[in-house]
Amino acid sequence: MQTKVSCTLNGEDVSADVDSRTLLVDMIREQLSLTGTHVGCDTSQCGACVVHVNGRSVKSCSMLALQAEGAEIITIEGVDSNGDLHPMQAAFREHHGLQCGFCTPGMIMSALDLVQQNPDPDDKEIREWLEGNLCRCTGYQNIVQAVKAGAKSMRAGGKEAE
């Protein structure tokens, strides 16, 4: 049996008919056709699927689509402003915080939540926060640099690209 879910996705009102077991990530990818949010595992370990639900980072593979009724959802596609990269996105590019790019949307969404809660995180805080985001390519060092730089840039109101 299908149920209709209505929510906002990157600021737009959307709705989809989903099964009671449909995961939020599947609704986003399959029904709402935004494929920037990725699926890297089936045990909630990898964090490739992180989106923001009502302002907080959530692994969208570990939440049912039905639970998103009325929620505000932001995905990687909703982070930039009118085509201008968000400072955190720019920092990932500037600091080579990505290689294959598969983990990147989840990393960025997770990092944004960290900075929201801790505007000036140090290396250790960043590494601990990113425990739930696996990257197999970068060895994390450049991701940590990117998050630090992105946070700095955000503190400066997005004026510094690095």
Binding site: G40, T43, Q89, Q99, C103, R136, C137, G139, Y140
Partner: protein, 787 residues
């Protein structure tokens, strides 16, 4: 140096799409009228299929088809081929079992494919797969090397006695035995190289699509080498000629070797798409990846090193058993042989070496190349053994290495195990690493750790590896069933922008950037006016793909050779336009100038006149400006380096933390230092993963105990330190770029450095061995046993 040219840390072209979520990975692609496949896999490790009942699944609403091995046999679908044959000591060929994409009547490992359920949604396909009833007659299982080699062991293949696929050797046995007779000191070691799973973050995926109007197939797949898949699947499995089969590997989320091979699912989706006349899509769930992606490593070795009184190496004897899994994966047999035993000379001038390798079948997932592929196994064994040898000889681990290094004046150096190293300076890398790691002050850091109740240890490795496997004729003589060249096409468009079609494939390496740098360097065109196309057999003329750190050393050189052809033709065109001789035309920074004059024409104008040949030497030159080069290297390249690791161990918990890690690597010339450093970081992290965290474990019945990311521990952000990375450049002598390759070095050099550091930290307990991975439990147990 051209801005954005060779040697510049240019920011990556490809990043924009990835940071904005607009990358196109295979699972992001949906085709009109697409249906979804779910694969029924064996839950047991070895069994005859007595009965297979698909009726309930077929009857499920939404199910479009359920296909089995019998359907494949009826369509005469072939066996998944092995791309490298190994000969036994007596010259006879290895045993090659068949590998049907869907099992015919017997399953040989947990995860073996039995049937495919295809439905209008993923969920329906998965539900219906539960309804497929399989009746198994279970057979005895051998789930690991020890079980497979035991007396009277059950057989994975009745025609492979002793579960031996091949029994192979390399080197001079008599000379090595003689070296041991002369020796006054001998060091020996037994090592297990732990089985690993690549776990690229993007799970494998495939979409088969059939166009009945044109009788053409398209396969979208997570591959590192789409042309190789087209050849293997088209020619050997499905009987589709190249011109009717297009293979597209779009954005691919990491590979590390695991996406080189031709997998059953690619053939199943392509075949099914024709039967159903609908696109068929399959994407692995992560736990499915664990039981269907090829695994890596899994060796058991015994090695002995003969020395004289001064600790000079006289001879090395190695005996290895390598687990190949139940079937031969595409390049499985080459990994423990030509990619492992040929590297056993390491960076040392050991005059006599003999190695024998038994490739063995077990009821486990096939084993094949994983980042480093054979070379990590060789360097782990050798660098652990050399540390042992230092103890036996009473020498410092660095001193014994120095004494035995191949010296700069020895190059080219012919090893006793087939390879000829072209160049290197191992001592210089050690010097750089010692300085960067602040080696001299280790004792004070150790004391500081001790004050905090921690044990600190330091370890070194001076590894070597071989990249860009070549030349094709030599590889062919050694059993390769493919060529090992690369192709590149440079298409200069009429307005002077450049499209490059490369057979290399990027799944994170950043070719769209580095290859564009090579174009900018050669033609002086703007970096943004260059587009690199890869991963599509419908666009790229030919290619062998990316593995074995070959992209720059083989694909990059092919590109540079094609660029040189463009330069030559451009000069001729310019000579005509400038009414001069081509010999007098200089091509620099995008301008073609008659030497010693101010007569000059821009490259863009040359391009335009090639396509609008009104004022053009049509008698001598064809119009157009497009060139292709195939490049078959003369030799491997030999990156090498020195890695120094420092660990801190908590004696109460056994937890090992890597606190400092220094790498001084020789990759030859570097195109983009930022990207090279990134590759090193990633490789080191996988190497630390192997040393401390990752372990693929089967139980006796062949069940995979480490079958999910909950049980198989990938390194996380707080498991690794900031790395101190530098390079020590000796340019490769046999390619025009002077490049060697950097993708695998970290995974090759790090594991022995980490374990040597762990053993060093535990020396005070008299511990001189530590199985890999050095998990907290193992370390804690070792400390308790020693107390």
């Amino acid at each position: 140096m051209t801005k954005n040219g060779m040697g510049a840390s240019v920011r990556r072209k490809e990043d924009y799409r990835f940071i904005t979520g607009s990358g196109q990975y295979t699972d992001d692609i949906n085709r009109p009228n697409q249906v979804y496949a779910y694969i029924v896999r064996s839950p047991v490790a070895h069994a005859h299929i007595r009965d297979l009942d698909i009726s309930a699944a077929v009857a499920t609403p939404g199910v479009v088809a359920v296909l089995t091995g019998a359907d494949m046999a009826a369509d005469e679908v072939g066996s998944l081929p092995c791309g490298w044959g190994i000969n036994n000591k007596d010259g006879s060929p290895m045993f090659e079992p068949g590998h049907p994409p869907l099992a015919a009547d017997t399953v040989h490992h947990v995860g073996d494919q039995i049937a495919v359920v295809i439905a209008t949604s993923r969920a329906i396909a998965k539900d219906a797969a539960e309804l497929v009833e399989v009746d198994y007659d279970e057979l005895p299982v051998v789930a690991g090397l020890e079980a497979a080699s035991a007396d009277g062991a059950a057989l994975v293949w009745p025609d492979a006695p002793g579960n031996v696929c091949f029994d192979w050797e390399i080197g001079d046995k008599a000379a090595t035995d003689a070296a041991f007779e002369q020796a006054t000191r001998v060091a020996s070691i037994d090592v297990v190289n732990n089985r690993l799973i690549a776990n690229a973050m993007e799970p494998r995926s495939a979409i088969g699509e059939y166009d009945s109007g044109k009788d053409e197939y398209t396969l979208y797949t997570t591959s590192q080498n789409p042309h190789v898949i087209r050849l293997l699947m088209g020619a050997f499995v499905l009987g589709i000629p190249e011109h009717k089969l297009r293979v597209i590997a779009p954005d691919v989320g990491g590979g590390f070797g695991s996406k080189i091979f031709h997998y059953a699912e690619e053939a199943i989706m392509t075949w099914a798409s024709r039967k159903l006349k609908r696109p068929v899509k399959w994407t692995a769930e992560r736990s499915e990846s664990f039981i269907s992606d090829a695994h890596g490593r899994d060796h058991i070795s015994h090695a002995e090193l003969a020395m004289d009184d001064d600790g000079m190496f006289l001879g090395l004897r190695v005996s290895t058993r390598a687990n190949l899994g139940a079937y031969l994966s595409t390049f499985g047999p080459s990994v423990p042989t030509y990619l492992h035993a040929t590297l056993l000379a390491g960076t040392y001038k050991t005059p006599a070496i003999y190695a024998e390798v038994k490739g063995m079948f077990t009821n486990t997932v096939p084993v094949d190349a994983y980042r480093g592929a054979g070379r990590p196994e060789a360097s782990y064994l050798l660098e652990r053994l050399v540390d042992r040898a230092a103890k036996v000889a009473g020498l410092d681990p660095i001193e014994i290495r120095r004494r035995n290094f191949i010296k700069p004046e020895d190059f080219p150096y012919q090893t006793p195990v087939a390879l000829e190293y072209d160049t290197g300076d191992y001592e210089a890398a050690v010097e750089k690493a010692l300085e960067l790691s602040d080696y001299d002050n280790f004792e004070s850091r150790k004391n500081a750790s001790a004050e905090r109740g921690k044990l600190r240890g330091i370890g070194i490795s001076t590894y070597i590896e071989a990249c860009g496997i070549a030349p094709s004729n030599v590889a062919g003589a050694l059993g390769a069933r493919a060529g090992l060249y690369e192709a590149g096409t440079v298409r200069v468009n009429p307005t002077g922008s450049v499209t490059v079609l490369t057979g290399s494939h990027s799944h994170g390496q950043g070719h769209e950037t580095t290859f564009a740098q090579l174009v900018t360097e050669a033609l002086g065109v703007d970096f943004d006016a260059v587009e690199i196309v890869h991963g599509d057999t419908g666009k790229v003329p030919f290619g062998m793909g990316t593995y074995g750190s070959r992209s720059a050393a083989v694909g990059g050189v092919a590109l540079v050779n094609a660029l040189e052809k463009i330069r030559t033709k451009a000069k001729k065109i310019a000579a005509h336009l400038l009414e001069a001789s081509a010999d007098d035309v200089e091509f620099k920074d995008g301008q073609l100038t008659v030497v010693g004059t101010d007569r000059s024409v821009g490259f863009g104008d040359v391009a335009m006149s090639a396509y609008v040949p009104h004022n053009y030497p049509l008698d001598e030159l064809e119009p157009g400006l497009e060139e292709t080069a195939f490049y078959d290297p003369k030799n491997f390249t030999f990156p090498a380096g020195c890695h120094i690791c420092e660990v801190e161990i908590d004696p109460d918990t056994g937890v090992v933390q890597v606190v400092r890690f220094t790498a001084a690597d020789d990759f030859g010339r570097v195109i983009n230092p930022m990207i090279v450093e990134g590759q090193v970081h990633g490789g080191l992290t996988q190497g630390i993963g192997q040393a401390l965290y990752e372990n693929c474990v089967y139980d006796e019945s062949g069940q995979l105990l480490s079958g999910s990311l909950m049980d198989y521990c990938l390194p996380k952000a707080d498991n690794v330190p900031d790395f101190a990375v530098t390079t020590n450049v000796t340019p490769c002598t046999h390619n025009v770029l002077g490049v060697k390759g950097c993708g695998e070095a970290g995974a090759i050099g790090a594991p022995p450095a980490v374990i040597n550091a762990v053993v060093n930290a535990l020396a005070e307990f008299g511990i001189d061995d530590m199985p890999i991975p050095a998990t907290p439990e193992r370390v804690w147990q070792a400390i308790q046993a020693a107390k």
